[in-house]
């Protein structure tokens, strides 16, 4: 049996009358990186936000089908949304640290979750910053404002903040699109290391980034899942002509 973390069955999403996702069915394997690619408006970010019920916050959104995380449908009435978001962290395109110290940014989540002991918080802060490969750069200035960090450092801080609440799954929505090549490379390397412990789903417009960082790639177009497969296969011999046309830049 395959080691599946998330199973999506016939998932459709409507913004009012408009059907933005059309009967998506796919499986996302555990401890792997799955990249979602496709042109703007294809539904990949909408799909990503379905995985931690972020779309619940948008009025007029209706979702049908199932999103099974570890076999449990996260859209079931009895499921606690807050718990879901604890288990499924998210990193956005634009880094969004709190206007607080570096330490407080990381400790914020664990504190809300009830952790009060200073030594325990210290440990979480250090571990999370180490995992996000930024510890060495900030260890001597944990009390400084996070707003003083560079863009690339802020994004890694946000990843550390996500890790601090011990999620199982990390969703990344174009996490490196606003960063320079060196910071991008650090984020990509980080993604590679984090998959040992987490299941990662990454939306990216950068085809080479999808190729470099992911194990599986899913191609979306006009709200439909056209193809999902091993990244190596998608970028060497995709099954569908639409996928081939998109990745080779001959779309439309």
């Amino acid at each position: 049996m395959k080691n599946i973390k998330i199973e999506v069955k016939d998932l459709s999403l409507y913004y009012g009358e408009k059907k933005a996702l059309k009967e998506i069915s796919l499986e996302i394997p555990r401890n792997k990186v799955t990249a979602l690619i496709g042109p703007s408006g294809c539904g990949k970010s909408t799909f990503l936000r379905c995985i931690n019920r972020m779309n619940d916050l948008i009025p007029d959104v209706k979702i049908t089908g199932q999103m099974l995380v570890e076999g449990i449908d996260i859209y079931d009435k009895n499921v606690d949304v807050v718990n879901i978001r604890k288990k499924i962290g998210m990193v956005f395109q634009k880094s969004n640290p709190f206007p607080k110290s570096i330490y407080e940014n990381i400790a914020y989540g664990p504190k809300i979750n009830g952790i009060k002991a200073k030594n325990e918080l210290d440990e979480i802060v250090e571990t999370s910053l180490r995992q996000a490969a930024i510890w060495d750069e900030v260890k001597d200035r944990l009390g400084d404002s996070a707003m003083g960090l560079s863009g690339g450092q802020q994004q890694r801080l946000c990843i550390a903040r996500t890790l601090a609440v011990s999620p199982d799954i990390i969703l990344m929505d174009e996490p490196a699109s606003a960063l320079d090549p060196i910071s991008t490379s650090k984020i990509e390397e980080l993604v590679h290391e984090l998959k040992e412990q987490y299941t990662i789903i990454i939306v990216t417009h950068n085809m080479q980034q999808a190729a470099r960082t992911s194990d599986y790639t899913a191609f979306f177009y006009l709200g439909e899942l056209i193809e999902i497969g091993k990244t190596n296969a998608i970028f060497t011999k995709p099954e569908q002509k639409q996928t081939e046309d998109y990745i080779t830049g001959r779309f439309g």
Binding site: Q208, F235, I247, T248
Partner: protein, 221 residues
């Protein structure tokens, strides 16, 4: 057409050009073997053109890799192009060797007639034409024709070589021309093998399957 597609077209046209030049060289080598000595100047000129195009292909491929990061069918086309150009350059060199050696084979016509070498040489000429055709058409039927021709050439070549060796054993006066002819036959067989390699790369371009160590009979072409 995008800038990238223009680059790919340019690469394709250079491959066709180098392929045609190699075809000319092989055709001249067959002529040199079967009938008359060939003007060396023209052969050298063509050889130098082939070498220049071979380098040009490497440069175009290098630039596409660095600037366009090709994937899928584009990636396979560029990978195959680099290999194909290498094979074509070798075909050109072997054809020149045949031309040079054929000039000095005395009394070759009796041996050529006795061991049906003319027919074999014509098949070698045909396989180079078919190889260029298979790159242009990218169809499996032509790839299959190249593989079949190669088998025929190998068989005929080996039979002719066996025959010539037998002849040399019994008639010492044919040893020099026989030896030269054996070397020429080996060159022709190598040309045919390079053509087969090209057909394998075209197969890779089309089907994304590496078959260079597979048995062609299992491919159902």
């Amino acid at each position: 057409m995008t800038h990238f597609e223009i680059e790919l077209e340019r690469l394709k046209s250079v491959i066709i050009k180098i392929g045609n030049l190699a075809e000319t060289q092989v055709s001249e080598s067959v002529k040199a073997l079967l009938s008359e000595p060939i003007e060396g100047k023209e052969v050298k000129k063509t050889e130098s053109k082939i070498d220049k195009l071979d380098v040009k292909i490497d440069e175009i491929c290098q630039s596409i890799f660095a600037l366009q990061q090709p994937v899928a069918s584009d990636l396979r086309f560029i990978m195959a192009s680099m290999q194909i150009s290498n094979e074509i350059e070798r075909i050109g060199d072997l054809a020149v060797s045949v031309i040079k050696r054929s000039k000095n084979i005395k009394d070759k016509h009796d041996l050529i007639a006795k061991f049906e070498i003319a027919d074999l040489a014509k098949q070698v000429e045909l396989i180079t034409i078919k190889t260029n055709e298979c790159f242009l058409k990218r169809d499996e039927a032509t790839i299959g024709e190249v593989f079949v021709l190669n088998n025929t050439i190998k068989k005929k070549g080996d039979d002719a070589i066996d025959g010539i060796i037998g002849e040399m054993k019994s008639h010492s006066k044919v040893v020099v021309s026989g030896t030269n002819l054996v070397i020429v036959l080996k060159h022709l067989e190598r040309i045919s093998e390079h053509c087969t390699n090209i057909a394998e790369y075209v197969h890779f371009m089309v089907n994304a399957k590496i078959i260079k160590h597979d048995k062609h009979e299992d491919l159902n072409l």
